[in-house]
């Protein structure tokens, strides 16, 4: 998904507002707001801005990291130690993603007139992020299991 244009566009607010990841983009927040595309929309000017911002290489890099972590975790039957490291890296990645809930204003419903806005009302982007709580727990569990298997085998 991270190799698709619309997905790369959709993570721009998350990355641009993050103090840990904003350095990956060339333009600071909130400049991106003027160049956001809706899913499925193709506006050449906005895509050109995203190209100059480094939106697509960053998204591709994240995709490569995600696939690599998946492969590392899947190596559990052969190399559980690698699987444990992959799970640990996934924990770090999940924590980074969950930090977007704090750093990204778009994670919560904006105040546009509806009384239900701000915390705890998650927007679409916020709901996308909050699922990483499951990833965090699952990664912790697989890390413990893989480490246990490695210790057993190497004993």
């Amino acid at each position: 998904m991270k190799f698709a244009t619309y997905e790369a566009d959709s993570i721009v607010p998350l990355v641009a507002n993050s103090p840990f990841m904003s350095f990956l983009y060339h333009y600071p927040a909130p400049e991106y707001r003027e160049h956001m595309n809706k899913e499925g929309q193709a506006i050449p000017a906005d895509q050109h801005w995203n190209e100059s911002n480094g939106t697509y290489p960053v998204s591709h890099g994240l995709g490569v990291i995600i696939v690599s972590l998946g492969i590392m975790i899947a190596l559990y039957p052969i190399w559980p130690q690698i699987s444990a490291v992959g799970s640990f890296l996934l924990i770090l990645m999940s924590l980074t993603t969950l930090s977007f809930l704090v750093t990204t204003p778009e994670a919560w419903v904006p105040a546009l007139g509806d009384p239900h806005h701000g915390f705890p009302y998650l927007s679409g982007a916020g709901r996308l992020v909050v699922k990483d709580c499951i990833m965090l727990g699952a990664a912790t569990l697989t890390m413990a299991d893989a480490a246990k298997t490695y210790v057993r085998r190497s004993a």
Partner: protein, 125 residues
């Protein structure tokens, strides 16, 4: 102190109780031989959670056992055999990290439940 033994005790008690450590290898060998028919302890289960084994199905058994027997069983359950029961094993720092990580299974399960609950709130509530 046997590092493997320390790890096994940590796995057994999962930081709820301060582990009692034993260094009497001859005593452990004797107990392993009595219990498993071998000088080196073997896992009673090769799959599943150690803490689950010992906190649920075997907790009542464990209470009846002596402390020494519990520790011996823990070493067997964790698979942390003692390199021929010589007690001379030295675990590297990296392996120590793996042993620490192996104790996080209950924490991981708690995190997973918390994650499911919070995601359920976010996606469905």
């Amino acid at each position: 102190m046997l590092v493997g033994q320390r790890g096994a005790s940590t796995l057994l008690w999962s930081s709820r109780v301060v582990p009692r450590l034993r260094t009497d290898c001859a005593f452990l060998r004797e107990n392993c031989a009595t219990r498993f028919g071998s000088a080196v302890a073997r896992p009673r289960k090769t799959n599943g959670s150690i803490s689950e084994d010992l906190y649920t199905s075997q907790r009542s058994d464990a209470r009846r056992d002596t402390m020494a027997e519990i520790e011996t069983a823990a070493i067997g359950d964790s698979g942390l055999t003692m390199n021929g029961a010589t007690g001379q094993s030295k675990v590297s720092a990296i392996k120590g990290l793996y042993i620490k990580a192996a104790t996080l299974d209950r924490f991981g399960m708690a995190m997973l439940r918390l994650g499911l609950a919070s995601s359920w709130y976010g996606l469905a509530a």
